[in-house]
Amino acid sequence: MTNAAKFSQSDDSVFVIVGSGAGGGTLGNELAQKGVKVVMLEAGPRYTIPDFMNDEWPSFSQLAWTDARTTSGTWRVAKDFPNLPSWIVKAVGGTSIHWAGASLRFRDWEFKTKTTYGDIQGASLLDWPITLEELAPYYANAENRMGVNGTNGIPHLPGNNNFKVMQAGAQKLGYKTVFTGNMAINSQPRDGRGSCEQIGFCFQGCKSGAKWSTLYTEIPKGEATGNLEVRPLSQVIHIEHNEQGKVTGVVYADAKGVMQRQKARAIAIAGNSIESPRLLLNSASAKYPDGLANSSGQVGRNYMRHTTGSVYASFERPVHMYRGTTMAGIIRDESENDPRRGFVGGYEMETISLGLPFAAAFFDPGAWGRGFTSKLDDYSNTAGMWIVGEDMPQETNRVTLDPKVKDKFGMAVASVHFDDHPNDIAMRNHGFKQGAAVYQAVGATRVAEVPPYPSTHNLGTNRMSANPRDGVVNKYGQTHDIKNLFVSDGSQFTTGAGVNPTLTIVALAVRQGDNIAGMMTRREI
């Protein structure tokens, strides 16, 4: 940070980025490397690696975005965790502190789901305005900068006990593509960071720094250029624009809650798929009465969260699933699009583990009594996997401003509505059945289906579209309506694909950085 820049609030030549996670943090570094002056505003505080805690609840209190949100819809999260629709991070580094590290590319057809799946009733499918071919060089860039194992000659991680159980079952079942994953977790020292110590608290912030996070990779690299200033504890409240409709700056609450104004040449928002549409909607003005970049009415719509669920299995003998990386391996055989299974799109099966405190809270939220506690009595003999698959975009699944609830700055909070699509339910049930079969193949004495946790993959609320009437941003993440306003997080996703989203968010941010630099040179923004 010694070289970190400090820019004036009245400097209208700076590029402002809202958010510092996988999207914002990466874009900030990219622009800084190209000589663009960047002010990055982050709502949360700035921690360092030694601040992270191997302790689930205290870590949750430290890192999670727990400001009020409201929920509605038929998803079980709305009942079990009505004010916690998602589990994301409020800190410099954003949810790249919390993510598990799984880094998989989309398949080519996952950019073309409307073409591939056809019309699915109730689903607002749309092809992406970009192809795998166009994104491939940026995927390669992202894999290299993040140190994804299985790419760039980086060895895979060794499998832990939890993986070995899943692998043995998968092999008995005849699954072919079973391995320890393409993880952005160092399997050997690389890029100034050490290798994985199998600590087992990936969700709580990696205390060895082996897992990629913008907090200790992109952001300090950007700061070292002298072109990047990160302002923690700076929550952007609204975006301002001039009479021509171009954005001119942001108003944000500083650490003391005092409102500040930062002028800007251009702005990118990357606050994750709940906060980003919230900010656009909250920036409504006389000129843009429905919120910024919302002439299509699409801001906040098509909220996706992946079709998820977990399968936990009890065995006669110990597993100690919590030892080692949380997402320690993957089965990819169900990730193809095979409508004969009764649904379109595919899903991955990835190991997951929870420590005892979170197992108690999430194995069966709200459950009690001996039927439930006997599962926890089996804790040390339990193996677990997470199902993550493509969910159908639906216009009615959306983020809106809550009409009543305000945060401490008086800003309307986000309200998240979600209903499962029948395709989501069919996919989840298939995943539950296959997950159970994997474990039963190696002698599981009991298998439990666990409902989705609060969403970690929040996608799609400012979707990318070729035609401005279908979405919010174009193929470069530039809003259709306002030339100097960009979106740089997973809310750009047109559809969600059946893979963990971070690698794609980073690849898009690198690509966007290239394009923004070009637009600035050409004086287009």
Binding site: V165, L356, G369, D377
Partner: protein, 184 residues
């Protein structure tokens, strides 16, 4: 190579037990009572809530999350903060007081006695099921799932070892030592 087992014995010195036990109730009371979990005498020193309410909460805690290998003291500790006026608001304590009265009303209607005097766990569970939709039950359960399972001293009983970074992770401590899977 065989798997590294977790010693299930609760690792707690008498000194630290006395210290932490004191937040629940005076240690002497806890250790000397030897009474059942529903005993009001264990909560004679309760300040904000009646001893009867605290005894009821304690038994309710075990009935909600029963683990036969876990001693009574840990259920007491998990509910003790309800009696702590610094940790609990007046409105919350009102929910508890009214909830306990409701629980006893249900117990009396079904079994002719207060909840803590109903002998069989299975009978008490039917009472809890009857009040499950109430704000009282929801508040107590939601709190308990954290306050009970977040007691680190209990984790070895479940075979959970917790924090590992200070030991260099599990890299050399059994992350891949499973020894019973079929050889493929």
């Amino acid at each position: 190579m065989t798997m590294r087992k977790v010693d299930p014995r609760i690792q707690v010195s008498r000194r630290s037990f006395l210290k932490t036990g004191a937040t629940a109730a005076p240690a002497a009371t806890l250790l000397a009572s030897g009474a059942t979990l529903g005993a009001e005498s264990a909560w004679a020193q309760a300040t904000s809530l009646p001893a009867h309410a605290m005894a009821t909460l304690t038994l309710m805690a075990r009935d909600t999350y029963p683990h036969d290998q876990i001693g009574d003291a840990y259920y007491r500790k998990a509910v003790a903060h309800w009696d702590d006026s610094a940790a609990t608001t007046e409105a919350q304590r009102k929910v508890i007081a009214e909830g306990v009265a409701m629980l006893d009303m249900e117990a009396n209607a079904r079994f002719g006695t207060d909840y803590i005097k109903v002998a069989a766990e299975s009978d008490r569970v039917t009472i809890l099921q009857a009040i499950e939709p109430s704000p009282f039950f929801k508040a107590v359960r939601a709190d308990l799932v954290v306050s009970f399972y977040n007691q680190k001293e209990l984790w070895p009983k479940f075979g959970y070892e917790g924090a590992s970074a200070q030991y260099g992770g599990y890299l050399h401590r059994g992350f891949n030592d499973i020894d019973w899977l079929p050889v493929s």
